[in-house]
């Protein structure tokens, strides 16, 4: 009786021979399933990053180091050591920039390899390559804003002064801020 039972099972297993295996894709070249939200390698948009340091603070494994920039306002930009990162996505969640996050994992790559030596892994970074021209342009921009601010402050002072003196302030004394933002990219 048991033997017959077993033979039945064997025949049922044998029926699988006609089923096509799901492994038809060469996964070396194409991933099997790669959703839009897949948390893979980071991409860091240095332009929109405001340098708020939130991602660094939340990261549970301290994978993020902030690269210092010679800028004043956006003085830091995150860099991620992929060897350390556990791809939890908290940094992406916490990033305040809108509409798109400036530190982005979604849709990242899935194969992240490096040499196995400890030293190799230590410099397995997602670097932000900030072209010098960008920094310069930002510097100039900053300079411009600074100048603008100073001017505004001056103006405010002047206005205050004028107010104190009782003069009319509706018309600016100086106008036409020069456009420095060209050539940012």
């Amino acid at each position: 009786m048991m033997i017959i039972d077993m033979i039945k099972k064997v025949i049922r297993v044998f029926r699988v021979v006609w089923i096509k295996s799901p492994a038809q894709v060469d996964v070396r070249y194409t991933p099997m399933h790669h959703p839009a939200r897949y948390r893979g390698q980071h991409t860091i948009d240095y332009e929109s990053c405001i340098g708020c340091d939130a991602c660094n603070k939340i990261c549970p494994v301290h994978a993020i180091t902030m690269k210092e920039l010679p800028l004043k306002k956006q003085n830091i930009v995150p860099e991620v050591n992929l060897s350390v990162c556990i791809f939890c996505g908290l940094c992406e969640d916490v990033c305040p920039t809108k509409p798109s996050k400036s530190i982005l994992l979604s849709g990242g790559r899935y194969d992240m390899l490096s040499g196995g030596w400890h030293e190799d892994q230590e410099d397995f970074w997602v670097n932000v390559d900030i072209p010098q021209s960008y920094i310069e342009s930002r510097l100039e921009e900053e300079e411009a804003t600074r100048v603008k601010k100073e001017l505004a402050a001056k103006k405010r002072k002047a206005i205050a002064k004028a107010k104190a003196m009782g003069t009319d302030v509706s018309k600016p004394t100086f106008d036409g801020t020069p456009d420095f933002s060209g050539g940012a990219k």
Binding site: S21, P22, A23, V27, R28, P31, M32, P60, V61, H62, L82, S83, V84, C85, I86, F87, C88, Y110, D111, M112, L113, S114, G115, G116, W117, H118, D120, Q121, F124
Partner: protein, 157 residues
């Protein structure tokens, strides 16, 4: 003669057998890579029950202090030539457990790996991709990393 040696070298590279050893949760994805959807046997990988017949040792993530002797001994008991693959953030610096009391913070410094696959855990695709790299290494006759150095040589286990 050289041709024959080349053939054996090629054979070595195309048939990598894994020692059956799991130290951390990355072994779940290793199981997935064995499974029907990824099926690493297509590329010639095969798990073996004892390290005596294995070519590749996988550090599957986390290495706690207590399991390190077992890991090193398993590695030492594999026959030459042998290779090591490190999976996951844990095998670099303890990953999410970096602040924890009982994990080894530098497994790859102790036992250098030939390929490190980042992720937590890495996708099965990534694991297979990493193993392809080892194939390339063998074909180019690059000696395995752990035989070149690493703290394990000075340790007593």
């Amino acid at each position: 003669m050289l041709k024959i040696l080349d053939f054996f070298n090629y054979a070595q590279s195309e048939s990598l057998w894994m020692a059956h050893f799991c130290t951390g949760c990355c072994s779940l994805e290793m199981a997935a890579a064995m499974g029907p959807r990824y099926d690493w046997e297509r590329y010639g990988y095969l798990p073996t029950p004892t390290p005596r017949q294995a070519d590749v040792l996988m550090i599957t993530g986390l290495v706690s202090k207590k399991i390190l002797p077992a890991l090193l001994r398993t590695y030492a008991q594999m026959p030459e030539p042998k290779y090591v693959v490190a999976l996951g953030a844990c095998s670099f610096d303890g990953g999410p457990y970096n602040d924890s009391l009982s994990v080894i913070k530098n497994p790859t410094e102790i036992l250098p790996a030939d390929v490190f696959i980042a992720g937590c855990p890495p996708k099965p695709e990534a694991i297979i991709e990493g193993l392809e790299q080892i194939k390339q290494k063998i074909k180019n006759k690059i000696p395995s990393a752990a035989s070149q150095g690493g703290l394990w040589k000075e340790m007593d286990f």
